[in-house]
C-alpha cells in the first residue's frame, strides 16, 4: 500500500471517538474501526466506508466506553460518605436524649433566625418607593402630665403644629397634613364604605403617590374635592369615567378631581380616597 493514495476515515469522527472514549480502550478500538474502514474501502467504496465508519463511531458511544466526566471523581468517595452517615446514625441512636435536645435546639434556633430575617426584611422594605424618603419627617407629640415628662408618645399632633412649623422653621420645604376619615360614599343607588384621609395638596409633594388622572398640584386645592384610587373608582363607577363626577358623603356633594394609582403594598399610609383638607375646616365651622 502506498502512503500517498491512502484514504483516511473522516477526521471529525475520529476526534469525536477520541473525545468520548476512555483512554485505555481508545487505541485498539480506533485500530479496529480503521481496519474495518480499510476493508470497506476495498469492498464497498470510499463513500460507503466513510458512512459506515461514522455510524460505527456513534454506535460505540456506550456506557462502558465513555469516559467519566472529571467532576464525578468528587463523588467517588461515596463509600466514605456512606460510612459517615452510618456512624452518625448510630451515635444518634446511642444518645437518644442528647441527640433529641441537640436537634430540637438547632431546629428552634434556626427557625427563630429565619423568622427574624423575614420580619427585618419586611420592615425594611416599607415606604421605599417614596422619592424623598430620606427627607420626610413625622411630627409626633409627647404626653406630659403635671410636668412629668413621660415616655408616652403619640404618632399624631395638632394641626396648629403644622402651621407653626411652616411659619417658624427654616428649611422646611412642604408640610403635608393628614387626618384620617372613613364613611359611606353614595353615587346614584350605590353606597360604598371607603377609608382615607383629609389631605392638603402638599401630600403629593412630600410623598410619591402617583395620580393617573387629574393634576396633583390642584386636585386637593378646592374644598369638597376628592381623589379616589383606581380600585375605589371602579367600585363606585365600574367602567365609567370617574373624573368630574360628584358623589355624596354625609349629605354633601364632592367632586372627583383625580384618580390615584393604588397605594403600593409596602406603604404604611393606606387609603382608598383623599379629601381636600380645607373641606374639613368648612365642615367643622358648620358644626
Amino acid at each position: 500500500m502506498k502512503e500517498h493514495n491512502r484514504i483516511f476515515p473522516p477526521k471529525w469522527a475520529t476526534q469525536l471517538l477520541t473525545w468520548y472514549c476512555k483512554p485505555e480502550l481508545l487505541e485498539d478500538l480506533q485500530g479496529d474501526l480503521t481496519e474495518y474502514f480499510e476493508r470497506n474501502v476495498k469492498s464497498k467504496g470510499v463513500k460507503k466506508a466513510k458512512l459506515i465508519y461514522i455510524i460505527d463511531v456513534l454506535n460505540f458511544f456506550r456506557l462502558y466506553t465513555i469516559r467519566k466526566p472529571a467532576f464525578i471523581n468528587l463523588f467517588i468517595n461515596y463509600v466514605m460518605i456512606g460510612s459517615y452517615i452510618k456512624t452518625s446514625g448510630r451515635s444518634i441512636v446511642r444518645n437518644k436524649l442528647f441527640s433529641f435536645i441537640n436537634i430540637v435546639g438547632l431546629a428552634v434556633s434556626m427557625s427563630v433566625g429565619l423568622v427574624l430575617i423575614g420580619v427585618l426584611s419586611d420592615i425594611l422594605s416599607y415606604d421605599r418607593f417614596h422619592v424623598n424618603r430620606d427627607k420626610v419627617y413625622r411630627l409626633i407629640s409627647r404626653y406630659e402630665y403635671l410636668g412629668d415628662k413621660g415616655n408616652s408618645f403619640m404618632a399624631t399632633t395638632s394641626l396648629r403644629a403644622a402651621r407653626h412649623v411652616q411659619e417658624n422653621f427654616a428649611g422646611v420645604e412642604e408640610v403635608a397634613m393628614l387626618r384620617s376619615m372613613q364613611g359611606d360614599f353614595k353615587f346614584n343607588e350605590k353606597t360604598i364604605p371607603l377609608n382615607g384621609f383629609w389631605a392638603n395638596p402638599a401630600l403629593f409633594e412630600v410623598f410619591t403617590f402617583q395620580l393617573l388622572k387629574g393634576n396633583p398640584s390642584t386636585a386637593l386645592n378646592e374644598p369638597f374635592s376628592l381623589v379616589l384610587t383606581e380600585t375605589a373608582a371602579s367600585k363606585l363607577f365600574g367602567n365609567e369615567e370617574a373624573l368630574g363626577k360628584s358623589i355624596v358623603y354625609n349629605d354633601k356633594a364632592y367632586t372627583i378631581t383625580g384618580i390615584a394609582k393604588d397605594v403600593p403594598f409596602f406603604s404604611h399610609i393606606k387609603f382608598e380616597m383623599l379629601g381636600s383638607f380645607n373641606t374639613l375646616e368648612i365642615i367643622e365651622k358648620e358644626d
Binding site: 500500500m1 483516511f8 480502550l25 487505541e27 485498539d28 478500538l29 480506533q30 485500530g31 479496529d32 474501526l33 480503521t34 481496519e35 474495518y36 480499510e38 460505527d56 454506535n59 460505540f60 456506550r62 462502558y64
Partner: protein
C-alpha cells in the same frame, strides 16, 4: 459482581478466543464468528462482550505490537483465564449431562 454464568453469545465468543489461541483480537474474532455461525456479527456487540468477559475475569487482554496496518494502532489480544476455562467446562458438562439423558430414538426423527 454479575453472575459468572455464560450467556449464549458470551460462550461463543469465549470459545472462539480459546480456539484462536494467540491470534484472538476483536476483528479476527468477529470474522471467525461470522464464518462459523453464518450470521452477521456486529463489531460493537463483540467488543462489548469481550469487555464484559474481561470484567468478569473470564478473559484477559494485552496490547500487541504496532504494525503499519490499522492506522498504526495496536491490537488488543485476548486470552482465556483459568476462571474462563472452568466456566467453559462447566457449560459443556451441563450440556453433556442433558445429552446423556436424551434417548437416541427421539433424535432420529429429525
Amino acid at each position: 459482581m454479575k453472575g459468572t454464568n455464560l450467556g449464549e453469545f458470551e460462550e461463543l465468543v469465549l470459545l472462539t478466543v480459546a480456539s484462536m489461541v494467540n491470534e484472538a483480537y476483536s476483528v479476527a474474532i468477529c470474522d471467525d464468528l461470522e464464518k462459523k455461525t453464518k450470521r452477521s456479527v456486529k463489531l460493537g456487540v463483540v467488543h462489548a462482550v469481550l469487555n464484559r468477559l474481561e470484567e468478569k475475569g473470564l478473559a484477559k487482554s494485552r496490547l500487541g505490537e504496532a504494525t503499519n496496518a490499522r492506522g498504526g494502532k495496536r491490537k488488543r489480544y485476548y486470552t482465556v483465564t483459568n476462571a474462563g476455562k472452568s466456566a467453559l467446562l462447566k457449560a459443556k458438562e451441563l450440556r453433556d449431562q442433558y445429552w446423556s439423558i436424551i434417548p437416541e430414538l427421539s433424535l432420529k426423527r429429525i
